[in-house]
Each structure stands twice: as structure tokens, then as C-alpha cells.
Amino acid sequence: MTFGFWRRRQRDEQLCDELQSHLEMAAQERVERGESADRAAQAARREFGNFALVQRVTRDQWGWTWLEALVFDVHYAARALRASPLFALTAIFSLALGIGANTAIFAVLHATLLRPLPVKDPQQIFHLMRASSGGDFAGEFSFSYPLFRRFSKIAERWGEVFAANTFASRKFGLDTVASEHVAGQAVSANFFSVLHVEPILGRVFEPQDDNVLGGNHVAVLSDAFWMRRFHSDSSILGKTIFYEETPYTVVGIAQPGFSGIEAEVSIDVWVPVTAAIEKGALTDIDVNWLRLLARLRPGTDPARAQAVLEAAFRTHVADTLLPVASPRWKTVLEAQHITVRPAASGLATTGRKYEKPLFVLLAVVAVVLLISCANIANLILARNTARRHEIVVRLALGASRARIACQLFIENLLLSFAGAVLAIVAAAWGTRLLLSLLPPKPFPLAFDLRPDFAVFAFTAATAFATAILFGLAPTLRASSENPEMSLRSSQQIAGSRLSGRLLLTSQLALSLPLLTGAGLFLETLHNLKASDLGFRPENVVTFELSAPKGTSEQRLHQAYEKIKERLESHAGVAVASYARPGVYEDGGWSGSVEVIGRPTPGEDNDVGLIAVGPSFFDAIGLGLLQGRYLNSQDLVEKPPTAVVNESFTRHYFGTESAIGKRIRLTFEPQIVREIVGVVRDAKHYGVRERTWRMVYLPGREDGSFYVRSNLNAQLLNGFIRAEVAASDKILQVEKIRPFESAVSDRVSEERLTAILSSVFAALACLLAAIGIYGVVAFSVSRRTNEFGVRIALGAQTGDIRRLVLRQTIPVIVTGVAMGVALALGLARVLSAVFAGMLYGISPNDVGIIVCATASLIAVALLGAFLPARRAARVDPMIALRYE
């Protein structure tokens, strides 16, 4: 644009020169004919005419290019906005909020779910997902190595299958003392070649690195890790590193920018899958630990690939898995299917987990933006009423309606793009805030949050759509002014405020579903938090211990005993114990049970298993119903004992007592355990999980600790670290946190949705209230004169207040009624979406809708009441002099 202006100025100068040379030549000719220089110059000028006029009419021939016209309009619009800074700032600020919220949610969706992997042709990458959609085991499952091999062979002709398993936190060191942690990924040898990721140094994995008899112990480092940890020193090639206390030789560095196939983890070290796991586990059909992806050759139909793989999976299940599966596991296997899912953005585990809440929130913020559009449209309507005179004069002077509409629209565009620029800044901050609501992971989240083209395009499109939404109606109305009518009475009050009222009604109608939704999500969160877990996670701190490989069981057992003793000796620590697997960790144990001397009541005899230390039940606050808890005497297993829960008792013994009954677990066929206690049912695996039949066994080592105390967390953390170090210095404390947070992390989706939807619903309410306030205040200020007359004639303040309020009642009633209808309609239409998101409440809960309606009416009345009060305080003497 500056270039255009510069060229224009140059042309202006040239035109001046050209005309000047004309004058000079004319004068010179006269001189040659014998006139005096003075007279010749004068005559030439006279003949020439108005120099400036000639210059101007000539310049007009150059024409305005559309760009120059646009620049002119933008200048004009900027000047018009500068003239009313309060209006401009209000509009820009509310747009920045609205567009910013949209950008932030989109940016999170983009970073977690949509951003394509930085590899060649990412659209050819697909995720081979093994999942079951219903029942107790709904979710995603991993694959065994034999199943991976089977799939690779089958897919050979139309694609390449590759496998990966991410370990977000792995021990790492340059010698056997592993003091650091890295993010590691075990991958099949074709991982890099299929993704077309090249080494920048050395080599990546090659086919011979994978070997069923135990793969090559070689490692590839990521460029970022190589730079961070080894300062890009190329002498690292060929050196030995210790990964999980096992030596690996570094053979290469992957290309810069590549950090694996999961947006949330930036991988530091890659090792071959065949080297990362014991030989026995590698060929075990029941060790499921791999995630499978594939690059499909161009032209391959994913649906066909899915059909082929599903058939292969069914064969594998029928031939190898079902014959050795327990009845429960059989039903799970039968419910599992293979889905070939486009995975240009990689596995996107976090993104897919929060996909539903994020899309719901995107819809919510879009509605918030709509509501703020209505506010701005109202502001512009009021402003255009004030500017009417200007517009009418311009029309009368011959400006075309199209030109005026165009200029007004450019003003709107300017507003919304100024808002968009602020929005990008606000979104950068909002995105971080949003991600901080996700539960903490044991590794730093590596999401790439830099806004890229997609985010900018989204923001620009939103800004443009916004400008059209809030600007179209006022612009059309303003440009259809009738100059003849309007010029006659410039003071005329804007005739119909119908469009303003319509906007208010729609604002209220849109706010109500948001309030209802927020209410439902808050209630869901509350229900989840208040639901009886069967144990008391308050005042309990949990942590894990890690020991170097090869530490003897005996030593660990002693260390666990010692730590328990030392912690319990502290004043303020009530009890400390441990369990394996940890409660509310990912995954759990299960196994089949057999009751000695009784027929089993059904096919399904799978039970949940936890090996617990002495006083574990006290530590997590799990109540005893009958018999006794497990104690340190039970650890010696003479005689072997167990504790079961209510569900177990009810299933196997009905109303009989379980105490003294004997059971055998299929994984330890030579041991018969006597039931010594019955505890309450507890939800160990998640609030929404069904209650399992549980068997608790005495356990002595290798689990998570649970410490119940009334000390503050920081103090307790200090004690724990000190006591662990004092008990055995080879042990490291990991994942120390309040037990409550481990439990509440299980409801992180619900928490995210509840918090954000409440914030946005509150924002929507506030905007609607501001909208009402603005419209009522505007009409009050227009009617000051009338109110003055009324007061002078004896109207009381209450009368005036009622008069103003009464006029807003129809708007509020219509708006709220439409809102209720909308909320109910949405609840019906979106019941499938809500099904998985709500807990203990139905989407058309009457209580919630009544609450939402009442609070919206209250907020709306407040918005109307403030200007009404001002109207009632009008001093008649001043008011009568008002115009």
C-alpha cells in the first residue's frame, strides 16, 4: 500500500513537469515570434487555463484501483471510529473476548487432535484401533507382538503396518546409575522408513534391528533431546546409553522437528520393540502392549483395509485367544473390533479423550460470540441513529447507497479484525489456561501451541463471519435512509426499535440453553464427586517407589516394612500402607476364582484382585462389615487368607456369611485361601465403573503407598522423602500426590466441561444483561423529556420505574420462553451427545431448567432496573429543558 502511495506521488510530480513543459514551450514559441519574455509567459498561462484544475481532471483519468479505494475507505472508517473511541473500544473488547474464546478452544482442538504430523503425506497414516464400544470394558486395547506380525503380513500388498509403544517416563543414564528420566518409545524397525523420517546423523532403524529372538540393542535419539542433553555433539554416535538400566548403542539422530506420533509427548529416545521387552513376553499372545498404525498406499480404500483386518482379527481371536480365555475375557474379546481411523495427526490420545467436551465447548463459545454480536449490532444501531444526519447528507450529496453500505461495512470489518488481533493474543493465554485444567501427567505436555496457518485462518474466518452477523442488518438499514424525509426533521427519534428488541429476545433465548447446559455439567460434576466411592480418599497422600532393576524381593520387602513403620511413628500420621496394583492407577488385575465345595452360580467368575499391605483398609478408609482386616500375620501365608467385598459375598454366598469359606484363584492353583473378612463395596477403578467383585490378598512389596494423616501436604511430602531415603537409599519416590487428586483426575473431562461451560454461560448472561441495559438506557435517555412531563404532572418514582420495566417485560418473557423451548429441543436432539457426558441427571431436568430460567430473568431484570431507576430520578425542571 505504501508502494502504491509512493508511485502515486511520483506520478503527480511527473504530471506537474509535463504541464510545466507545455507552458514553457508555448511561451518560448511566443518569444520566437517576437513577444517579450514576460508577456509571452503571461499569455501562455492565460491560454493554458487553470493549472490546478487541468492537473486534477487529468489525475482523475488514472482512476482509483480497487485497492486504493479500499485504502481510502479503511482510512475513512478508522477516522470515523476514532471519532467515537468509547464505542470502538467497547465493540473491539467484546469481540476480542468472543473471538478469543473461539480461537482458544479451536487452538486446543487443533493442537491436541488436528495438527498433522510433520512427516511426508500424513493423510496416508491410519490408526488401526482395537476397541469395544459397549459394556464394562468399553475402550481401546493394545495389540500383542504376534498379532502385529499377523497384521503386517496381511497388509503387505496395500500398506505397511508399524507398531509403537510410548513410555512417557523412562530411566535414563550414561552408566548403570539411572538418575534421569526421558520419554521413550519402543517402535517396530520399519517405524522411521514408513513415516519417511530420515536421520540427520548416523542411521535410523533397519529391518535387521527387529528380531523375534531379541532385537538389536540400538537407540535413535530425537534431535531436540540430542541438542538439549548432548549439545548436538556428534561423538555420541556409537556410544552406549543406559535406557531402563539396559545398555543400548546410539546409532542415529532423527530429523529435526520429529518428536514421535503423539502430540502430547515429545519423544527423546527410540528403541526397537523387540529389544524393549523380555523374549517370553514378545511371543506371548496375551501380552498386549503395542499400538498399531499403518501407511496405506494411495488408492487403498480404508474401509476395505478395515474389513480385511477385522477378518484377520476374528480368525486370531477364534484360533488363538478364545481357547485360553476366561468366560469374562471371552465376552470382552467378542465385543472388540478393528477400526481403521484416519490418523494424519498421529494417535492424538488426549485429543480424542477430550474431543466431545471440546466440540461442545466450541459450540458454546460460538453461541457466546453470537450473543456478543447481538450486543454490538445494538450498539451500532444506536450509533447509526446518531449518525443518521451524516448518512443522509452524504446520500443527498450524491453518494450511492452501495458506496455508503460498503463504507459502513468496512467499519464493521475494521472492528472485528481489530478484535481478532487482540483475540489471538488472548487465545495464546487462554489455550495455556485451558490445558492447565487437564490433569497433570508424569511428563511435561508437549503440545505445539504455536498458532499456525489453520488457527489464523479460523480466526480470520470467524472475524469475517462476525462482521457480517453484527453488521449486515444495521448497514442495510442505514443505507436505506430516505434523505428527503429525514433531512426535514433531523431531530426525529428513531422510529422503530423493533430490530433492537428482536436482538434482545434472541440474546436471552440463546443464553438459556447455555445456562441449562452449565447447570447440567455442574450437577454432573457434583454427583460424581459426591458419589459414594466406598472409601475415604480425603487426607491421604499416595506415592510410588522405584527401585533399580534386580533389587531382591527380600530387600524390597524389608524396605517397605521399614518405611511403613517409620512413617507411622510420626505424630500426625495415622496409618501408612501399600497395595498393588495401586488404586486409581491405570489398569488393574483380575483373575478367575473358584469356591471350594460349591458349584459356581454363573459362567463369569472373574474378580478384581489387589494385593494389600497390613492396615491398607484403614489407610484408604474402607469399612469392615464382618470378620477382620488383613494384618502382618497374614503376610507369612500360614494359613493363606483373603478378604472379599459385599458383591463377592452376595454373588457366591447369598445371605450366608462368607467368613471361614475357602476359595482358590486360578493363577495360584496350589493355594486355598480362607476368607477372614468382608469389606464394603468400593469403586477402585473409576467413579463411573461398575462395582467389581473383589478379592484382597496379603501383599508385601512393590506397590503404591497410602498415608493417612492430618499433616499439611508439604510437610508430609518432606517427611516421606526423608523417611524413604533413610530406609533404603536406592529407592526413589515417584508420583507423590494427594489421593483425592488421583481420584478427581478420573473426572477431569467432566471438570473441564463444568468449569468452562459455567464461565461461558456466566459471560453469556453478562452480555445479555449489558444488552438489555444498553437498549433500555438508550430509550430512557430519549424519553427524558416525557418522563419530566409525567413527573411534573404528578407521577411517582415508582410509576416511572414500573413504566420502564413494564416495557421490557414482553421482551424478557418472549426471550426466556423461546430459550426454554430451545433448551428442551436441544436436550432432545443432543441426547446422544449428552448420554456419555452427564451423570446422575437427565438432560431435561426440571430443576435445572427452572434454576436457569430464574437466574436469567433475575439478571435481565437487573439490567433493566438500573436505567429504570435512573429514569425515575429525573428532575422535571431539568428534563423539561432537555430539548
Binding site: Q14, L15, S21, H22, M25, N50, V57, W62
Partner: protein, 118 residues
């Protein structure tokens, strides 16, 4: 009288035709063009600068003529216009159009002569 004639010249497109025709004899600057038109019309057509320069710039924008800065015999920097090939084609079509119009007008003004078959 001359001034009156000058206004006739404002008939749409006529000045364009005159300029294009003048430039057919060689490149010329604005002053030269106005002098040539005046001389060739026997002092009847005096082109107003306020019409000439807009026309020149308009024709230049149509790419019928092209402009360049040159130094004249009097060591003066002048902007010189020349006819482009596109302009030559335009000149031909404008000329034939003009001839049709002037024939038609002559016919209207002088019907008898036409009937008598001069």
C-alpha cells in the same frame, strides 16, 4: 467562432480520434499535438488543455498510446507520446466510424443533393 468550434470537438470520442490521427505522423508531446491539431484544422479547432491532457492520460491507460520522457531540441525535458499497434487498430476503426457518422450527418443535412446523386 473558434471557441464555438472548440466545443463541437467535445463530441464523444472525437478528440481521441484527432490525437490518434496526429500521432500517426510520429511521436509528439502534448503541446506539439495541440499545435498540430490547430494547424491542420486551419486554426478552427483549438484544443483546451483541460481536455487534452485528460484525453492523453486516458488513451495511455487504454494502451492506445505510450508515453516516454525525452529531451527536446531546446534541451527541454518533455513527455512524448507515440501510437502503439493497438492504437493503430483503434485509429482505423474510429476513422471508419467517424466517416460513417459524418456521411450520415451530411445526408441528413442535405437530402436533395443526395437524391440528385452527386
Amino acid at each position: 467562432m473558434a471557441r464555438y468550434q472548440n466545443r463541437i470537438e467535445l463530441l464523444q470520442g472525437t478528440l481521441d480520434l484527432l490525437i490518434l490521427q496526429t500521432l500517426q505522423w510520429g511521436a509528439q508531446h502534448g503541446y506539439g499535438i495541440s499545435q498540430a491539431i490547430r494547424a491542420n484544422s486551419g486554426d478552427i479547432l483549438q484544443v483546451d488543455t483541460g481536455s487534452l491532457y485528460p484525453a492523453l492520460h486516458r488513451l495511455e491507460r487504454q494502451k492506445w498510446i505510450a508515453a516516454a520522457w525525452k529531451v527536446s531540441e531546446n534541451k527541454q525535458r518533455v513527455r512524448v507520446y507515440r501510437l502503439t499497434s493497438k492504437g493503430k487498430r483503434q485509429l482505423l476503426s474510429e476513422r471508419s466510424k467517424w466517416e460513417q457518422i459524418s456521411d450520415a450527418i451530411a445526408g441528413v443535412l442535405n437530402p436533395a443533393r443526395r437524391e440528385s446523386g452527386v
